[in-house]
Every structure is written in C-alpha cells, then in structure tokens.
C-alpha cells in the first residue's frame, strides 16, 4: 500500500468527517468504519475493534490516537500523522472561530439568555455521559461500588482524583472486580 492517492483519500475523508462530527468524534465512527473496512478493505473489522478498545484505555487524545492507528495500518508513519492532523485540525479551526465570535458578544443581553438556557442542559449531558460510561464499566457490584466511591470522594473531599483511578486499577489488577 504505497499509492499516495490512498493516503490522500484517507486524510480527506477523515478531515471531512471530523468537520461534521457534532457531539464528538465517536458519532462518526460508523462512517469511518464503513470507509476503511467495508468500502476499501484497508483494515479488518477485528483490527478496527482492537484500535477502539486500545485507544479507550490509553490516557490522552483517544479518538485522535485511534485514527492514528488506522492511518498507521494504511500508510505507515506518514499515514498516522496525516490521520491525526485530519482528526483534530478542522475542529480546532471551527472551535477557535466560534469562541472568538462568542467572546466578542460577551456583554450582549441575548448571550446572557442563551447562556442561562444552555448551561443546565449541558450539565445534564455531562452527568449522563458519566452514567453511560458507568453502565459499560460496572460489570458487577464491586465495580459499581468503585464508581460510587469515586464519585462520593470527589464530591466530599479535595483528594486528588488520581488516587481513585489508581485504587480502581489496583483492585482490578488484583482480580477483585
């Protein structure tokens, strides 16, 4: 796979998908899978699933890493770098433009209304993503207890949350979850 047109096609598709990934990059994962697995056969289904699981468990920019693994498989290191750039570049530009616009109208009266309306909905969604993650992670009651303990400790103490992640990982590694 050394045809440069393959690299260009993958990069262009990822740049397009990242620009329309409203609600986060996972929303366009099915499209990415269709493009690289079904339409072109560059990556097998099993490889695609492995990339996902791995990217989820490595700290850092998960989806950018996952697309880098895809790019690595398709076109080596240049593929990995191009895929990473295509995943974060276009959204960064959009974020910058929209935040600058938002900041310019900071004192406008309509912004106060929009803010007061949007913020509670957003917070509800943050709590929801926590519980969606918990549902996936809490395979038994011991794991659920870890989730509840972590949430309680974070709300009621100023303990560094890294300790809770470390405790979760240790309990899991010892086979207690």
């Amino acid at each position: 796979m050394s045809d440069p047109s393959i690299l260009a096609a993958l990069t262009a598709r990822l740049a397009l998908l990242s620009s329309i990934s409203f609600g986060g990059f996972p929303t366009v994962l099915p499209d990415v899978r269709h493009f690289v697995v079904v339409a072109h056969g560059w990556v097998t289904d099993q490889e695609f699933t492995n990339y996902f699981a791995l990217a989820q468990s490595i700290p850092g920019p998960n989806m950018i890493l996952m697309m880098s693994f895809v790019g690595w498989k398709v076109w080596g290191l240049p593929g990995a770098l191009a895929s990473a750039a295509a995943t974060f570049g276009p959204p960064c530009t959009i974020y910058f433009a929209s935040y600058s616009l938002w900041d310019r109208f900071r004192d406008a009266r309509w912004q106060e209304t929009v803010r007061r309306g949007l913020v509670p909905v957003t917070i509800g969604l943050v709590i929801a993503s926590g519980t969606v993650m918990a549902r996936a992670a809490d395979v038994d009651w011991q794991a659920a207890a870890v989730t509840i303990a972590a949430a309680t400790l974070m709300l009621s103490t100023r303990l560094n949350p890294l300790w809770m992640l470390l405790a979760g990982g240790t309990l899991g590694g010892l086979g207690l979850l």
């Binding site: 959204p91 949007l118 917070i123 926590g130 996936a136």
Partner: protein
C-alpha cells in the same frame, strides 16, 4: 476552599508554558471518554483559578455544539480566553504533542501482543473509577445552579433523555436548548 494547593490570586495572563503544561496534565490524567473534562475543570477552575465556574460551563456548552473532540475544543477555548490565538496553540500543543507520541508508541507496541487478561482487569477498574469522577464533575458544575428550578428541570431532562431514553446527543441538544433558552428568557424578563 482554603487548602494550600489552591491559589487565591487571579493571574490575568498566565505564561504560555503554564497553559501548555496545564493541558498536558489534562491529557495525561484523563482516561476514557470524558475523562479530560474532570481534569480540565479541576486544573483551570479549582487549582489555577484562570477562569470562573461560569466561563468554564459556557465553554463546555459551546463545545458540545461544535464538531470534533470536545476536550480539544475546551483546550482551544480556554487557551484563547487566556492568551488569544497563541494561547490556543499552546493549549492544543500541550494537550497533543507528548501524549500523542507516548500513546502512539505504546499503542503500536500493544497491538503486536495478544489481549492480556491482567491488563484488561486493570483497565476495567480504572474505567469504573473514571465513570464516578465524571458524574461527580457534572454534579459539581450543577452546584451554582441548584437554586434555579428551571435549571434543575432542564439539567434533569438532559440527563434522562440521554442516559435513560438513550437519544443521540445532538437530538437532545436541538430538542432541549430552544425550550431551555426560552425559559431563561422568560425568567430574565420577569426579573426586570
């Protein structure tokens, strides 16, 4: 609120290096979907006091409406707020460069090995704790709004529609945002 690790001053313009290092931490500490949000709030609001709770909630709202990884958006917006365009570049570089390099090398090495069960269990335990931290971060963000019935209602609706009805995020946002904004407009008009 008076622990020694929390700064009482409000630096107007933190250095680019400080912004970059803050987002390097956000990136390395945040494991699993949404994990970065926990640290972004803790570091920029609680510890450094670079931005207010309200500004942070604003930025998170804005980022949920935009395409792309939300946490990268938070880096762009906080960086822009602190130091303009160059601040955004500093925040995103801190967030991406080192973590991407480490993650990519570790990932490519891992992909060459079979699935190790002990590793899987460790990762499972970490995800369980990480989920609890994310819920707690959401509840913390809600604290300043607990006195407003409309805010509590719309936060609960957002939670229920996404967590229980399992509707896609964009649908929930498009459905609830106009109603919630209208309610806020009504409240503000009545207060005048």
């Amino acid at each position: 609120m008076s622990k020694p690790d929390i700064k009482q001053s409000y630096p107007e313009h933190p250095s680019l290096a400080a912004v970059s290092i803050a987002f390097l931490k956000v990136s390395l500490y945040g494991i699993g979907g949404g994990g970065g949000l926990v640290w972004a709030r803790r570091i920029t609001v609680d510890q450094q006091r670079w931005i207010s709770e309200q500004d942070f909630a604003d930025i998170v709202s804005l980022c949920q409406f935009m395409p792309g990884p939300n946490i990268v958006g938070i880096a762009v917006c906080v960086g822009t707020r602190l130091r303009g365009a160059i601040g955004a570049v500093a925040a995103v570089s801190g967030f991406l460069l080192i973590p991407w390099t480490i993650g990519f090398i570790v990932g490519v090495l891992c992909l060459q090995h079979a699935q190790n069960p002990v590793l899987q269990h460790i990762l499972g335990g970490i995800s369980a704790a990480a989920a609890g931290l994310l819920v707690a971060t959401g509840l913390r963000m809600m604290l300043p709004h607990r006195g407003s019935p409309a805010a509590v209602i719309f936060a609960s609706l957002g939670f229920l529609l996404m967590a229980l009805a399992k509707l896609p995020l964009l649908i929930v946002l498009i459905g609830l945002a106009p109603l919630s904004i209208a309610a806020a407009g009504f409240q503000i008009a009545r207060a005048r």
